[in-house]
Every structure is written in C-alpha cells, then in structure tokens.
C-alpha cells in the first residue's frame, strides 16, 4: 500500500472535513446518521482518491464526490427519512446571538430545507456555500444554464414552504 498516498489523503481530508460535516448537517437529522454519512463519505472519497490527480483543488473535488455520495445514499432511503421526525439538534442556535423572532424564522427555514428532495438540498447547500454557477455545474454534473434554472426553482420552493 502506498503509505504516502494514505497520508496525503488523510491530511487533506482532515483539513477540509468541514465540507463533509456541513453536507451531513443538510442531509441528516441526528448525530448517529451524521456520523454514518460522514464515514460513508470518507470511504467514497478514499476509494475515488487514486483518480484524483490534482487537476482541481482537493476541496473542489471533495464537494463533488461527497455531495454525490449523500445524494446517492439519500435517494436509496428517501422514504424512511421523509417520514422521520427530525429533531433540530443540528441547528441549535445560540439564544444570545439572536432575538426570538429571527431565531424562529431561521429554524423555519432549516426545517424547510429538510423537506426538500436530494438534489434540491444539494443546490441549497451549494448556494449557502457561496458557490458560483460554474462550480455548481461542475459539482453536480449539470450545465450552468440548468443549474441556474434549478436554483431559481428551489428558491421559489423554499419560499412557498416558509410562507404558504
């Protein structure tokens, strides 16, 4: 086994692990599923790592592989997740930082995101991460025009969920 490759990979992943954690927050509802998804993402990244030749940044590549892992996994068990009660343990917002009204509103939006489908969640995630359309198109493997159209639809969808 190429020890050097191993070391390189783990170092990179340790540095960029926030990306995976944030994806877990969007896609899972409790700590246990968060850890499961994180581990699955790690394994998929490691499996794909030999193909990563460094033409792009590690983080860019990681967004793509990790997000696709979440989408695939989520798609498999879509129903079980949708009917689950989601507690909002992940989105505990510190009371001192927000007034009640804003806090309630944010919680409402996070809840709304949880109701979206796998692809829409990915889009919202990339939006929150401040990715431009070129990056979104690369990450999700769709055209830029398509990404733009989809993003607008998701925004409308979110709006409708929050203000029915």
């Amino acid at each position: 086994m190429n020890k050097e490759l191993e070391h390189q990979f783990v170092t990179n992943l340790e540095k960029h692990q926030n990306i995976a954690h944030k994806i877990c927050r969007i896609y899972t509802n409790d700590q246990e599923s968060h850890n499961d998804l994180f581990q699955e993402i790690t394994i998929q990244l490691w499996k794909a790592y030999p193909k990563f030749r460094g033409d792009s940044k590690f983080s860019t590549w990681m967004y793509r592989v990790a997000l696709n892992t979440a989408i695939t996994l989520y798609r498999k068990k879509k129903r079980s997740i949708r009917t689950q009660d989601y507690d909002t343990v992940h989105f505990k917002i510190k009371a001192e930082e927000y007034d009640d009204e804003a806090e309630r509103h944010l919680k409402l939006m996070y809840d709304a995101i949880k109701q979206l489908n796998d692809i829409d969640k990915a889009l919202v995630f990339l939006y929150l991460e401040d990715k431009n359309y070129a990056e979104i198109s690369y990450t999700l493997g769709i055209s830029e025009v398509n990404a733009r159209v989809k993003m607008n639809r998701v925004k409308t969808k979110l709006k409708n969920i929050i203000n029915p």
Partner: protein, 211 residues
Amino acid sequence: MDDLDLLKQDWKKQEKNLPHLSYDEIYKMIWKRSSSIVKWIFVISILEFLLGAVLNIFLADEEYWQQMEKYQLTEFTIIVYIVSYLITFYFIYRFYKNYQSISTTDSASRLMKNILKTRKTVKYYIGFILISSGVVFLITVFLMIRNHAVESADNANMEFDATQWLIFIGGTLLALGLLLGVIWLIYRVVYGILLKRLLKNYKELKKLEME
C-alpha cells in the same frame, strides 16, 4: 432574497459549531467497512447457534428421547450434540478472533490477509456443517437399519427383499442429497452475501495497492 441571505449568514456562523475529527479518527475510518462485515459474520454465527439451541430444546422433548431410546440412538444423539456444540463454539471463537483482528488492523496488506482468512474460516464452517449433517444422517440411517434387522429377526414379515433394499437405499440417498442441498443453499444466502462484499473490499484494496 432576504430570507436566504439571512440563512447564508447564519450558515457561516454555524461553521464554528461543527465537529472536528482528528487525523487518527479519519485514518481509522478508511478501514472500517470490512470490520463491520466481519462483525456481522460473527453476530450471525451466534444467532444461528442460539436458534439451533432453542430448536433443540423445543424439539427434543420426552417423546423424542423415547423415540431415540426405541432405536437405541440415545447415546449417539448425545455424543453428536456435544461434539457439534464444541465445534460450533470453536468456530464462533474463530469468527470473534477474526473480527477482533480486522477491527484493529491498520495496514492494507494485513487487512487483505485478514479478509482472506475470514473467508476461509466461513468456508470451513460451511464445509463442517455439510459434512457433519451428511455423516450424522448416514449414521442414523445405519443404526436404524441395524436395529430394524434385530427386530425383523423375530418377525419374518418385516424382512426386505432386494428390490425393497434398492428402493430404500435410493430413497435414503435422495433424501440426503436434498437435505445437503437445502443446507448449502441456506448458508450460501446467509453468508454468501457477506463473503461477496468482503471479496469486493479485498479487490478494491488490491486495486489501491496497484496504483
């Protein structure tokens, strides 16, 4: 859109609340998957053992032992139980050892070796089940024939002629074949899936090593 901008701000603030894993924790994760498969093999072997024990307790009632007494199979049955439990315990122990060694493995080549070892143990286990089932079946039939012969010495009506023997032996072999076939099939399904996954992991590891 104001709402989404607010959300974006909050999203950035939340970043400092994210968990952080150490280098070692991530390193270990790379090897986790095989260990969970081997854990399942261990768990299934215990469940299977428990199921067998429960079935034995419920099926081996007084009537059963009377029946055995009649065919003079009591001693033989007890010996079979003891021996098969001992061997089963041995395999459960081996499965446990395999699980332990795989979950503490930290290098790919050792992991690959352990995967091969685990696959081998499972194959031996299935082999043991098949051979022991066959042997027990044949010995039981043999002992029953012997006792039958003793009984029929007093009663001429119970004597078999050549064709009857042929039918009897043919029927016995057919039943044996069916029994072993069914057992083999069940084990193929139960362990086959896990073994296949292990093999897949093994191949992936090998590919990584080639890179």
